[in-house]
């Protein structure tokens, strides 16, 4: 007698015992049998088959309809098992992807780490908080000598891995350009060509580029489809939007960007940000830029870094601590 037949006979005996006497010890013996069945690669649907056979042997006059009902159960269990298996594989795959994402996010964070420069005459602060693991925003500073400071605030359209890859390209473009005294319009035109050539039609980058001349306090800026920066003139207690109709990077290869100048005086400051700061999905009619201006003025006596942090805290609270997008704000104070 082979082992499977032995197990079937055992099953029948235990089942019969339980039918005659529904006590705990019979259940316990039955459960122990399962362990042996698993060792012999017997599947749940096999167990139903064994059960059906046992019932048919125990009740010789079993109505045919009951046998059919068991067959139905067997069929469904085979399919059920198949789907469970598929589901387990999906979960496994998902877990693997999650681990890869974590590693990729760590590498990205390392690559795109921003160090805030500390020129003698300016106070610079920054907060950049990703919505998900990978940040679609990026801030790049260039400060090679005491004459110029370059700053780029960028936002890649799209999220997750594709956006992160695109962002690395922007970073290396900026690194390659390399000089803090480059003209903002030139920087945008070069990056535009790189991005237009390399990514698909639905991918693009918005970028605000500014160059601060530390000798005469002239800030020169150009924008490629980016959220306008704010310029606060302390003497007048007025904010100016640094608007520009420059097109997003990566759409038209030959686009010409226009740059503008503004001269900063004592206590003036600039607020550079991404649309994650101004765009509130849940508060449709809300004048977010107006609110940010109010906040910035009320915190203007703090350091640039503290200002960024306080504004972030306020906006986070306003949206019930659940921001819709990556959030990046840079403040440069004279």
């Amino acid at each position: 007698m082979n082992i499977l037949k032995q197990l079937k006979a055992q099953y029948k005996k235990i089942l019969l015992d339980y039918i005659l006497n529904q006590n705990e010890s019979n259940l316990y013996i039955g459960q122990n049998l399962i362990k042996q069945l698993i060792q012999k690669n017997v599947t749940p649907e096999d167990v139903i088959g064994i059960h059906k056979q046992a019932i048919e042997e125990i009740y010789e006059d079993l109505p045919e309809s009951i046998s059919h009902a068991y067959d139905f159960l067997i069929e469904l269990m085979v399919h059920f098992g198949l789907k469970v298996k598929e589901h387990q594989f999906l979960l496994l795959k998902q877990e693997e992807m999650r681990i890869e994402m974590d590693i990729a996010a760590k590498i990205q964070n390392l690559l795109l780490e921003t160090t805030i420069p500390t020129p003698e005459l300016l106070d610079i602060g920054m907060v950049s908080i990703p919505k998900r693991k990978m940040n679609g925003d990026y801030v790049h500073f260039l400060h090679d000598d005491e004459n110029y400071l370059g700053v780029a605030v960028t936002d890649v359209v799209g999220k997750g891995v594709p956006a992160a890859l695109c962002m690395s390209m922007v970073k290396y473009g900026l690194d390659t350009l390399g000089y803090a005294n480059s003209n903002p319009s030139y920087v945008l035109e070069v990056l535009n060509k790189i991005i237009e050539k390399s990514v698909d039609d639905s991918m693009f980058v918005s970028l605000f580029y500014g160059r601060y001349n530390l000798n005469n306090d002239i800030f020169t800026w150009a924008s490629a489809g980016h959220e306008p920066a704010l310029y606060y003139r302390a003497k007048e207690n007025i904010f100016y939007d640094l608007e520009s109709k420059g097109l997003l990077l990566g759409i038209l290869p030959e686009f010409k960007y226009i740059q503008h100048d503004v001269k900063l005086e004592k206590d003036d400051f600039l607020v550079l940000m991404t649309d994650g700061v101004t765009d509130f999905r849940k508060l449709e009619e809300f004048d977010s830029r107006g609110y940010i201006k109010q906040l910035a003025v009320s915190y203007s006596r703090l350091s640039a870094q503290q200002m960024c942090e306080e504004i972030y805290k306020d906006l986070e609270r306003l949206q019930d601590f659940n921001l819709d997008d990556d959030f990046t704000i840079v403040i440069i104070k004279k």
């Binding site: 936002d155 359209v157 799209g158 999220k159 698909d200 039609d201 639905s202 991918m203 693009f204 918005s206 490629a224 489809g225 980016h226 959220e227 306008p228 109709k245 420059g246 097109l247 997003l248 759409i251 038209l252 649309d275 765009d279 999905r281 449709e284 819709d324 997008d325």
Partner: protein, 108 residues
């Protein structure tokens, strides 16, 4: 959250009515819908965004990609009935200078 598009043909004009929210999750659906359009030379495509309650930059990407495709086929694309918020999005990104867009008319 969902997005759907209803098309209607009127001679050389193809009207598409977009409804819903366009974000990272629904953008692929919108992209597929727009890619199903058979673009012939000289075709006028008008997409109505009156019932788009939300759109983020991913949605913008879908429209830019579609715009480029339409231009390659020598056809025409116009986006109409954009809310103030959507108009601002197209203006900030410089796309309003490139694409033909029309803001919703007050009192309509």
């Amino acid at each position: 959250m969902n997005v759907n598009v209803q098309f209607r043909e009127e001679g050389d004009l193809l009207l598409g009515f977009i409804e819903g929210e366009i974000d990272t999750f629904t953008a692929p659906t919108l992209r597929d819908e727009l890619n199903s359009i058979c673009i012939s030379e000289g075709l006028f495509i008008e997409l109505d965004l009156l019932n788009v309650s939300f759109m983020d930059s991913t949605g913008l990407g879908v429209f830019v990609a579609f715009y480029k495709k339409v231009m390659r086929e020598n056809a025409n694309l116009k986006l109409v009935n954009l809310s103030g918020r959507l108009t601002r999005l197209f203006e900030i990104t410089g796309l309003s200078e490139l694409m033909d867009i029309e803001t919703i008319k007050k009192g309509d």
